[in-house]
């Protein structure tokens, strides 16, 4: 049986509870662990990969306990969040070293295939120290996936990537998931995973707060009420125009610009630009005012 079983797992550091009694079962396909920073996602991923023992409960991958069991890495891959790699190696040397550490029968071929998969063939002979953040992330993924693992754990894989690289990484994860692999990644930015499909597990304050289909959670996200601070060449006229829209629930004129309570995040952001253009108002600043992730997750939990 291929999958990850988390049963009643808690992890605490002294008085601080990082993960609180989580039970989940992760199967084939793409699964996202979502939650604000410090929610316990990374702690959970590290326990899954056997780099941290649970204080209580059990974690197994394909039936095997993970703590103190490096043999799991024959079928498991971990892509850690920290960027540190052996920067003095070239990308190719790094992936090849990984292939050799896995004792693959043909390490060169495996390394070549993994590098191709992340589209790093052109840059493979450069030292990693010259790579951009996104390139480092990709070469890390290549090194982790070089042994064709059944289960892939990625900690914040989209961090530091530009939108194009993010899409590319998502396509890669989807392709892996569609191939029947178990793909688990963590993320603290909901918008990052907008285009992903699959299952999500929302973790807040160390607890499993919600789990379900990406689309359902995403709909909740984009429809949530949202406060924006908008500055423009003519705040009063813009405010008057905005209050006439369905997507706007309230407008307040403040010294620092307009404070707009939008009832629908997606519709509002699409309408704002057109509206200001129609009225000949120049927008100078649009800031989401309550971007604190806690508020977003609290909202998700409430619905």
């Amino acid at each position: 049986m291929t999958g990850i079983e988390v049963t009643g797992v808690s992890r605490w550091y002294g008085n601080i509870v990082a993960v609180n009694d989580i039970t989940m079962s992760i199967g084939r396909g793409v699964t996202g662990l979502l939650g604000p920073n410090g929610a316990g996602k990374t702690t959970l991923l590290h326990m899954m990969a056997g780099f941290l023992p649970p204080s209580r409960g059990e974690i197994s991958i394909s039936g095997q306990a993970t703590w103190r069991n490096p043999d799991i890495f024959r079928t498991v891959a971990l892509v850690p969040e920290r960027e540190s790699v052996y920067a003095f190696l070239t990308g190719e040397e790094f992936v090849l070293a990984s292939a050799k550490l896995h004792e693959l029968p043909d390490p060169r071929a495996a390394a070549r295939a993994a590098i191709e998969m992340v589209e790093m063939t052109d840059a493979q002979h450069r030292r990693i120290s010259t790579y951009s953040k996104g390139m480092r992330q990709r070469i890390k993924v290549a090194a982790a996936l070089v042994h064709d693992p059944e289960i892939v754990l990625l900690d914040e894989p989209f961090n530091g990537m530009d939108p194009r690289q993010r899409l590319q990484m998502m396509d890669l994860l989807h392709a892996q998931g569609d191939n029947g692999r178990v793909i688990v990644f963590s993320s603290h930015i909901l918008e990052e995973v907008e285009r992903l499909s699959g299952t999500i597990q929302v973790i807040v304050g160390g607890r499993l707060a919600a789990s379900g289909d990406f689309r359902a959670i995403r709909r909740l996200m984009t429809n949530r009420p949202h406060v924006f601070v908008v500055r423009s060449s003519d705040d009063r006229s813009l405010g008057a125009a905005l209050i006439g829209r369905e997507s706007v629930r309230a407008v307040e004129l403040t010294q620092n610009g307009l404070q707009v309570l939008a009832s629908d995040y997606g519709v509002f952001t699409r309408e704002l630009a057109g509206l200001s253009r129609d009225h000949g108002i120049r927008l100078t600043e649009v800031l989401p005012a309550d971007e604190s992730l806690e508020s977003v997750f609290t909202y998700l939990l409430a619905s």
Partner: protein, 245 residues
Amino acid sequence: MSGLINGVIVRITLRATLSRRRAMLLALPAIILIGISALLSATAATSKVWPPEILGTVGFTVLLPLTALIIGTSVLGAEIEDGSIVHLLATPVRRSAVIVSKYLVATALTIAFAAVPEYLAAAIATRPGSKLSIGLLVGAIAASFFYNALFMFFSAAFRPGRALAFGLIYVVLWEGLLSNLVPGVALLSLGHYALAIANSIADDSALHAYLSTGTGIGMGVALAALSIGLGVNRLSAFTIKGDVA
């Protein structure tokens, strides 16, 4: 044994250690040692007491352990510190192979940066191939094995900063001070095990080991093996630092 030495780990560790800026520091103790020897042999060439005193006592209980400390905590500790060790540990490679491979690299580098200079300094002070120089070389090679085993354990058991701090306290207080002042401490001093081994060849009364050659070899090997075993055990329980402050 071959299963315990992983060529990939050896090569990466070697490159990583020598490419760090710290590597520059490694040559410093050796240069000082050779410099002092050259100076003393030019000014006090007739004295037969200083070469074993300086090269033996100071060399084995201060310079050698300091060099081993820098290297021994660097081969494993630096990778733990920056997190790159995870790329090594997220593979089925046996933890014993990680420790032993890195241990051998650290020992080889310590021999190159400290034991060979010991020989050169002794050769300058006496003559190349003298009993003293050969004795010091063999003793220093033994010391490289002993000290690095201990520091591998420190690196695996403590956080990088602490491993270095504890190592420094141990070298300065225990090896440098107590083991030379309190004869009983020599029984638990890696430097004095090595001195005993050196003395068995050099046969120089000024090399104060305070213990027999057999005791030195036996205790040194036993403690090194114990350190490596404990180090493997600690690395097997390696945890990535959590995101909880």
